[in-house]
């Protein structure tokens, strides 16, 4: 390296000396590409000294100029970096391809930055990447596309959101990232956005970047920028895009048919010494397929989007309207979503130094949804557990003439029925496992929202390099729901005698005002730019709702609380939110020396109304540096054409606290009665001890990374991070002698460590043939370090009516890990039962017989009890990956997008273990039936003394890894001539398939379980969708 620098310096000195006295002569040579040596046509040859153009290369990259031998020649070609070389006849100059991607602009929060000079870890997704991807929601744009960002769809229910985790789960108190849309911090998620309106999405992954959002940046920041009018041509552009698709479930879960069910019920009864319930199982045939009964086949999805845009020197606009409708694949007519959105973005250069602009979006959503991922009443949970002997409709007049269909000799008035007849009631399965189709008819609930998000700004250029900007944003949301539950009778424990109509109405309003001053200046090779600002935001809201019983109608549309009847059954509630306010000062300085040495320093101060006066203000600094090695003069590598290394550390915060959580508020209900007549007196006392020290959770994140371009086509980005959460809020156990409930306090710690890798290969062979492959892999390890409470754990999720504890949050283990007994095979014979004993010879499982699970005495105390419950699995994947393959060939283009996770487990809690007559997964056919039959699935018995299935155990924990073809698309762009004849510009037709293939060992409906932290209680699966669409531009 040193040698190279010396050589370069020597050459430079020599050149300068030579040019002073040299004479011109004819110099011939060639200019080629550094990577593959292909010739570069039209490269300009200049004199380095005078800057005058001497000539250019021909089609073969050859040139012939006159210059003094040894004088410095400069070579310049578009798309390549300049090179200087001493003139020498027969010279061969290799130009390195300019890495255009790195000169893109990224949004960094209160400003933008050249991508090549970014020192933090920021991912960018652009409209180009999303074009025609049939996205339902904006989060999907990020799924599988960028390392370190894990998006898990809550479910396949239309309108369902996603769990978004940027570099893991940083807190037990909320780990959702901050969403900023056109500068407005958005509450309640970004499902109001029309994916077609998006220009770019930036994800600030590390604290060095997110520190600019201070107290709310700890979980990462997602910055969305919507489209604006483009170009200076002054011509209006109109774009239309639409698609139409059909969706179907991609899988059914294997369950027992009627014959198998009856056979196993007989076996269970026999094992328990009970009478055989079904004398002839075979006669029952296949029975009812309840999944078929609740799935909605060929559910349609439609999207239509029209936009107009125009731009000139005076200003620009972008306007769009869109409509998106989706029916769900479960519960026909009861699960759907519709979004109508409109947007207007404008900019105006009102004065040579003053620019104003705005973005306004309005969205109206309506949705209907069914319960999901619960063992108590989700249609799919019921479909898995309902016995297959019961028909959908009961047609047997004998059965219909007796209980439970009749009461007091007459048919019940509130049996669920429709045009098909009376829905059957299972005489076998009880509790919440009712006829799933009938149950769907007993609840109508239509949710809606109207949301308006607006931002206006004015920007004034005060002097060269000095810009002031003020922007005001509002986020106004109305949302609510209308519900109606008719009177119904589903079984002995699930009925409603009087119908119920409900309604609720909510309003949330947030405003924010940002003022910033930005300055940029070059001093020779030094460049400095910076921004300082102030921001304030306040959120208010109110809500009300009510219900009425027994309205004289069974029609959802007709039922209303204002129905003039039964005023005494009217219930109302309502209230106002306590205001949430946040005020901030922030500043950022970027410095670079000759684009080579880069540094960024950020400091933000935040004050939140959610914290007490002692710690109202928090300070969040970060520093990051980078080095563009390829910009060094000595850099001369054809293998690595560009390389930037980055390192940074920063602190950001999480203000996940409730209103007045730090304070002691007064609670009622501390009553006592005095007097002969037990005259009740109201008593009040503080709800808890105040904690005026309550403050932000802090996340300190160190990040090192390198962005490398290999030759012309290949790039890799690597990031290694260490994210430590401090001051995590938990409720520590205080001694009871203090006398009141402990407040939450900042005592916990959490750790996430990981590695993000991205690589891509992009190559154009000619203007109509290109290929692009991009992939990313993230490795993540999460650990709850310290909780500061009694026992070092927090109880997690529970399962079933018995409330089995199946997950825990515990020090030293990943958050929300699966918890329960560990099985070690099945006792194959009674000898094995006897052998499972402690040192004293006492049987560990005295109630077990051959065929029962052998549970492990994990703590080795010679007893099998609750203390033996242990770690069974981790819901958080070790590895998350995604890959996109794009190819263009003539008018055709193809996209394949893969996504997956590995190393996680799923807790399959779809079975109602407490109901022995509930149907079983098809895997029950492989149960233990005798010595040597299986070691994985215990025997079936109606009297499960060993609690084979009534304990949380690894029997329920399955591998959750999957690889999914999320999207496969084939498009065709009309030839320009043909399009022009039709009066169109660029016009593309395509077919798109979503979720065409999923490779997983998981046996449930879907391995993608965002809602429920890896516990599947009957998830609403993702749909497989086939769609066709087009997009076109009109003049």
């Amino acid at each position: 390296m040193i040698k190279r620098i010396i050589r370069f310096a020597a050459a430079a000195v020599l050149l300068t000396a030579q040019s002073a006295w040299g004479q011109t002569s004819s110099i011939q040579g060639s200019v080629v590409e550094a990577g593959d040596g292909s010739p570069i046509p039209n490269a300009v040859v200049l004199s380095a000294g005078s800057g005058s153009v001497l000539g250019s290369t021909d089609g073969q990259g050859k040139f012939s100029v006159r210059a003094a031998e040894g004088s410095a020649l400069k070579f310049r070609a578009p798309g390549y970096s300049e090179a200087t070389a001493p003139a020498r006849d027969g010279m061969r100059v290799a130009l390195r391809a300019e890495v255009t991607e790195l000169d893109e602009i990224v949004v960094v929060g209160f400003g933008t930055q050249k991508k090549s000079n970014v020192t933090g870890s920021i991912a960018q997704v652009k409209a180009k990447d999303l074009e025609n991807m049939s996205l339902f929601r904006v989060e999907q744009a990020l799924q599988g596309r960028t390392a370190g960002v894990q998006i898990t769809q809550n479910s396949g229910q239309p309108g369902a959101g996603s769990v978004v985790r940027i570099r893991g789960t940083a807190s037990i108190n909320g780990s959702d990232p901050l969403y900023v849309v056109d500068g407005v911090v958005i509450g309640g998620g970004i499902d109001y956005l029309n994916p077609n309106d998006i220009e770019t999405i930036e994800v600030l992954k590390d604290a060095a970047s997110a520190a600019i959002y201070g107290a709310r940046g700890a979980n990462g920041v997602i910055i969305v920028t919507t489209k604006s009018g483009k170009g200076a041509g002054g011509q209006m552009n109109v774009s239309v895009s639409a698609y139409q698709g059909i969706q179907n479930p991609w899988r059914k879960v294997s369950t027992l048919n009627a014959t198998e069910y009856a056979t196993l019920q007989n076996e269970m009864a026999g094992a328990a010494g009970q009478a055989i319930p079904y004398l002839n199982p075979r006669a029952l045939g296949e029975g009812t397929d309840w999944q078929d009964a609740v799935f909605n086949r060929n559910a349609p999805v439609q999207s239509l989007d029209v936009s107009m845009s125009q731009s000139s020197k005076e200003g620009s606009y972008f306007a769009s309207v869109g409509r998106y409708r989706q029916e769900g694949i479960v519960a026909p007519g009861r699960s759907n979503f519709e979004r109508i959105s409109a947007r207007l973005n404008t900019t105006n250069q009102v004065h040579r130094a003053i620019k104003v602009g705005m973005s306004t979006a309005f969205t109206h959503n309506t949705s209907q949804s069914v319960a999901e991922n619960t063992e108590f009443g989700s249609p799919l949970g019921r479909a898995l557990n309902m016995d297959p002997i019961t028909p959908v409709y009961e047609t047997n007049p004998l059965l219909l003439s007796q209980s439970p269909y009749t009461v007091g000799g007459a048919l019940r008035g509130n049996l669920v029925r429709d045009a098909g007849g009376i829905y059957a009631i299972s005489p076998r399965v009880t509790s919440e496992v009712v006829n799933p189709v009938a149950a769907l008819l007993t609840n109508t609930n239509v949710g809606w929202s109207d949301k308006l998000v607006h931002q206006s700004y004015a920007e004034a250029k005060l002097a060269e390099g000095l810009t002031a900007r003020t922007s005001m944003g509002i986020d106004l949301a109305f949302y609510g729901g209308n519900g109606f539950v008719p009177s119904y009778y589903l079984n002995a424990t699930n009925f409603l005698d009087t119908n119920l109509v409900t309604q609720n109405f909510n309003r949330a309003f947030s405003w924010m005002w940002d003022n910033t001053i930005a300055y940029t200046k070059d001093f020779g090779a030094h460049h400095i730019d910076g921004v300082v600002g102030h921001s304030a935001q306040a959120v208010n809201g109110s809500f009300m709702g009510g219900s009425k019983r027994d309205v004289p109608t069974d029609q959802f549309g007709f039922a209303t609380i204002s129905y003039a009847r039964n005023a005494e059954s009217e219930r109302v509630y309502g209230g106002k939110w306590e205001r949430y306010a946040i005020e901030s000062y922030f500043g950022r300085v970027n410095y670079d020396y000759d684009d080579r040495f880069l540094a960024t320093v950020i400091l933000r101060a935040d004050a939140s109304s959610r914290f007490g006066p002692n710690y109202r203000w928090g300070y969040f600094p970060s520093i990051s540096t980078g080095w563009n090695l390829h910009k060094e003069a000595w850099w001369n590598s054809d293998l690595i054409t560009s390389m930037k290394i980055r390192a940074g550390y920063g602190m950001s915060g999480n203000d996940a606290a409730g209103s007045l959580e730090y304070a002691a508020t007064i609670s009622g209900g501390r009553n006592y009665s005095f007097g002969y007549n037990e005259f009740m007196q109201n008593g009040t006392s503080p709800s808890q001890i105040a904690n005026p020290d309550l403050r932000w959770e802090r996340v300190g994140q160190a990040n090192v990374g390198a962005d490398v371009r290999w030759g012309k086509y290949l790039y890799t980005n690597v990031d290694l991070y260490h994210r430590a959460t401090y001051d995590m809020k938990t409720r520590p156990v205080l001694p009871d002698y203090i006398g009141n409930n402990a407040p939450t306090a900042n005592v916990g710690r959490m750790l996430n460590m990981g590695l993000d890798l991205e690589a891509g290969y992009e190559r154009s062979f000619n203007p109509t043939r290109s290929i692009r492959v991009a992939g990313n892999v993230s490795f993540l390890r999460n650990e709850v370090v310290y909780l500061g409470n009694d026992g070092g754990y927090l109880p997690g999720q529970r399962w079933g009516p018995q409330g089995l504890e199946i997950t825990r949050i515990q020090e030293g283990l990943p958050i929300g890990y699966f918890f329960g007994y560990l099985t070690n095979g099945v006792f194959q014979n009674s000898g094995e039962v006897t052998a499972h004993a402690n040192a004293e010879g006492d049987l560990l499982q005295p109630d077990a017989v051959a065929g029962d699970f052998r549970f492990v005495d994990v703590n080795g105390d010679g007893k099998l009890n609750a203390d033996d419950r242990t770690y069974l699995g981790n819901p958080t994947p070790d590895v998350t990956f995604g890959a996109t393959l794009n190819a263009r060939w003539g008018g055709f283009d193809a996209v394949v997008f893969l996504q997956g996770v590995a190393g996680n487990q799923i807790y399959n809690a779809t079975r109602r273990y407490d109901l022995p007559t509930a149907n079983l997964n098809g895997s029950a056919l492989d149960r233990w039936t005798g010595e040597g039959s299986t070691n994985d699935y215990a025997r079936l018995t109606a009297l499960d003394k060993n609690m084979n299935f009534a304990r949380s155990s690894n029997f329920y924990v399955e591998d959750g890894s999957f690889l999914r073809v999320k999207t496969a698309q084939l498009g065709y762009t009309l030839p320009e001539g043909l399009a022009a004849k039709l009066g169109l510009k660029r016009t593309r037709l395509y077919y798109s398939g979503n979720n065409l293939l999923t490779l997983t060992k998981y046996r449930g409906f879907d391995p993608e379980i965002g809602n429920g932290f890896g516990v599947d209680r009957g998830i609403y699966p993702q749909a497989r969708m086939h769609s066709i669409g087009f997009s076109t531009s009109l003049n």
């Binding site: 102030h534 106002k576 306590e578 005020e583 007045l660 501390r670 020290d693 205080l734 001694p735």
Partner: protein
């Protein structure tokens, strides 16, 4: 230079944009902050009610039903329930298999310290409540002091050495507490009660029944002296003051004392009020919100089907010893239900069934809560201090302090006479023994027996067969969870 000016101008603009101080202060909506509360007599009164509220808690960390647990711990009853695993805390207190992790201590500890905290908070706040009359402040302060003394006397008798906390603690003081000796704790109890007595009313009217009176405070102090075995003359004097106040009298018919009609009756010196208007369900169990007496449900006969009584859970079956000790005593049928002799009824024998059940707090159909979960909402009041108890304390105080034995016998015989028994003529230690026996029989199953055995040093002798070990089981273990949470501030009781 121009740029500099503009920057300064812009910086000034930014500074102007900064928000006022109030911007970040949240006004509570629909609730009050503690720091803004206690601003009028109504709020102060509600705070006082919240101290009383703790008296009736019986759902803290399991079931912390004082009178029932003390009866189970004594020789008057067994643990009972459905089987040996039903309510391990009861079983452990019954057979003295208590450990720091097993027993009723966590609930009793928490309940009483919650009460102490609320009393301390009230006493701190009441000084600065605007608009209160002197009389209001004096009386309510006296009530809070009484209640603080009440909670401390329970803590003292249950745990021996406990942290003595007489103000609300600030975070820096949480782990600075020390275990106070029983004498130090009692000194505080004595001081509180002596301070309270002059400010309390002699008696209260119908709508205030249940609020603390002078008589209640004097009787509680007498009970404290007795337990500490000090100042027997004061026991006699305080009890006689209550007697001579003529506010209280014996209910003529012993059988009527525990009826619904006799709640806050003439014999009631201090009573914990429960209400069958309480409507809570299991979802609030453990919160202290209920106003019902769950102990009633506990001691009922399992699956009982018959007249008068409602089914219960079969806890605290009365011991054969007590049944035998009351042989021929007219009070026996009104103290013990002989379930096997009840005509036209049936019940399921549970764990340790003797066929005998507690009569005084039995679940009677006429006290069944009309709403809410019946088990949690029994309205039966707990008679904490009865006039009969005061008479017997007066007798004991006189007999043990060298006072008039005749007067002592007179008080004792008032109690016997009401029960329909012959007067006793004993004197000296025979008189003291007779008083002790009378206490057991008159006050049986009301939760006094265990502490009486402990204070008279007879516990090991009487309860040894059940597992009682001297110098250990006089007190409950300090809850292990509390020792862990206290970060070294607490030490375990001896021999645990």
């Amino acid at each position: 230079m121009k740029a500099l000016h503009l920057s300064l101008f812009a910086a000034g603009t930014l500074a102007l944009a900064s928000c006022g101080k109030d911007f970040l202060n949240v006004d509570p909506i629909g609730r009050e902050l503690e720091i803004n509360y206690y601003q009028n007599p109504g709020q102060a009164y509600e705070a006082l009610v919240s101290v009383y509220d703790v008296l009736q808690w019986n759902d803290q960390t399991g079931f912390s039903i004082m009178y029932l647990l003390q009866t189970v711990a004594s020789d008057d009853a067994h643990a009972g329930g459905s089987d040996a695993s039903d309510q391990p805390a009861f079983v452990a207190y019954d057979n003295f298999s208590l450990t720091p992790n097993l027993g009723p201590q966590a609930g009793l500890w928490r309940k009483n310290y919650r009460g102490v905290y609320r009393a301390n908070l009230f006493l701190e706040k009441i000084q600065n409540v605007p608009g209160t009359s002197d009389e209001f402040v004096r009386r309510t302060s006296a009530e809070a002091k009484f209640l603080r003394a009440y909670f401390y006397l329970d803590l003292l008798r249950l745990f021996g050495k406990v942290p003595l906390i007489t103000k609300t603690l600030s975070p820096s003081e949480y782990y600075e507490v020390t275990m106070a000796t029983p004498e130090a704790v009692f000194a505080q109890i004595e001081a509180d009660l002596l301070a309270a007595i002059p400010d309390l009313p002699l008696s209260v009217g119908g709508s205030e029944k249940g609020r603390v009176t002078q008589g209640a405070a004097k009787a509680l102090l007498a009970r404290g002296y007795l337990y500490m075995n000090v100042k027997m003359d004061q026991v006699a004097q305080l009890s006689e003051e209550v007697i001579q106040s003529n506010v209280y009298s014996l209910t003529p018919n012993f059988a009527d004392i525990f009826t619904r009609a006799n709640e806050h009756g003439p014999e009631s010196v201090f009573e914990i009020a429960y209400s069958e208007n309480s409507t809570v369900g299991w979802e609030v169990f453990g919160s202290g919100y209920g106003e019902g007496n769950v102990g009633v449900q506990f001691c009922g006969m399992r699956d009982f089907d018959g007249p008068v009584y409602s089914p219960g859970w079969g806890f605290a079956p009365v011991s054969q010893e007590l049944y035998d000790a009351m042989a021929g005593d007219p009070r026996r049928p009104f103290t013990i239900i002989n379930a096997d002799s009840l005509a036209g009824s049936s019940y399921s024998p549970g764990y340790q069934n003797t066929g005998y059940f507690m009569y005084k707090y039995a679940p009677r159909k006429d006290a069944l809560s009309p709403d809410g979960e019946p088990a949690l909402n029994w309205g039966t009041n707990v008679r904490v201090i009865r006039y009969a108890d005061v008479l017997l304390m007066a007798a004991e105080g006189l007999a043990r302090s060298g006072g008039s034995e005749a007067t002592a016998r007179g008080y004792l015989n008032q109690v016997r006479q009401r029960a329909g028994l012959q007067p006793i003529q004993a004197s000296g230690s025979a008189l003291i023994d007779a008083i002790a026996t009378e206490r057991r029989l008159e006050l049986a199953t009301e939760g006094h027996r265990f502490f009486d055995l402990v204070r008279t040093g007879k516990a090991a002798q009487v309860l040894g067969a059940k597992g009682f070990v001297a110098n250990k089981h006089e007190w409950l273990p300090i809850p292990q969870t509390e020792i862990d949470a206290a970060q070294g501030a607490l030490t375990q009781n001896p021999n645990y």
